[in-house]
Symmetry: C2
Subunit: 174 residues, 2 copies
DNA sequence: AGTATTTATTTCACCAGTGAAATATAAGCC
DNA sequence: GGCTTATATTTCACTGGTGAAATAAATACT
């Protein structure tokens, strides 16, 4: 696994050379795109690796976190598909493995019997509470040297970017 | 595909609830992590989709871009593995498909005959020059409403984050 | 010259996720 | 009651990527 720094340095040079052949290239924006993809990708890899030791994959973990942090500890497959960006096929499988491990329960909804209610179990809550704290040092180290101002700047800019991405998706759909 | 805005709103509430059960949770950092993963992931999806129409996958496209923007239009499998974060097995396959499409050429290096030299072809350069410009409007729209200051802030913060991630990886390795 | 190391490829079994189609159930609407 | 719609599951073929092991070829070490 090569350092991000190398990849970034390489990109910076590469884009300069690109600019010579393609003068109307939106340099800053292209650079930011690549940066987002590289840094986001690396964070994803890091998470995958951490979860591997717990025999979990990120979609399963995220599903569990969403359930944990939902007001009543429950949700439905459809809702979980939305928030995790997973297809229904995959969500069913995620449910299967989490049920098998006793971390969630599945049952028919009382009001609408088409719906399946997925609920985090006590064991599931214990699992989350045991998993998260060991991650804190690493999460803090990621943002070492970030002032409170910088953190809120980054947060603001990422949210702004997210808004634009939603806008683009909406235009595509229409 | 649900809007990012929904997922973010949901996360914001979820983290607040988490904080009640886990008081020493590094809230800001955790939020930033999730934001990076969500936004980065969405950008990745968008890229995949764009490339699909060109019968390309992102690792192939990135490989081609790196070759295009390298000083002499050439590289080696090992180097490309580093910069694309791909395994060697996969790099060989990427090479196969790009050769099959006539976008790159592969041959033994003159100096070190263990090495394979991968070079972008004239057709490969034409392909890149035809692919990129249609992407510019979208790339610009992603950062619509970003001032020059905001763009350079984001760039700086992402690079800082990248540096910290490299630092963490280095500590793990040692 | 002979062993060890590097670079790349091949094979292979596997993993996580996609997408479409078929099925089952249960509401909702005339 | 009968049609349509919504929700979830199952099956299945597929995609993109992983990781290990075996192989091949060339270079480096001593």
């Amino acid at each position: 696994m090569s350092r991000l720094g190398n990849c970034i340095a390489m990109m910076d040079e590469g884009i300069e050379r690109m600019l010579e052949a393609i003068p109307d290239l939106p340099v800053e924006q292209a650079r930011l795109c690549r940066l987002m993809l590289m840094v986001g990708g690396r964070m994803d890899e890091a998470l995958d690796e951490k979860l591997k030791s717990q025999q979990l994959i990120d979609s399963e973990f995220l599903t569990l976190l969403i359930l944990y942090s939902s007001p009543d500890g429950s949700s439905t497959p459809g809702e979980l598909c939305e928030f995790t960006s997973q297809g229904s096929t995959n969500m069913t499988r995620i449910g299967n493995t989490l049920v098998k491990r006793g971390l969630i329960s599945r049952g028919a909804s009382a009001e609408d019997r088409r719906r399946v209610v997925i609920r985090i179990t006590a064991a599931g809550r214990r699992f989350v509470l045991k998993m998260l704290p060991p991650m804190f040092p690493r999460v803090e180290a990621m943002f070492a040297g970030f002032s409170a101002t910088e953190r809120s700047q980054l947060s603001r800019l990422l949210r702004k970017l997210a808004k634009n991405l939603d806008q683009l998706d909406a235009e595509d759909a229409s």
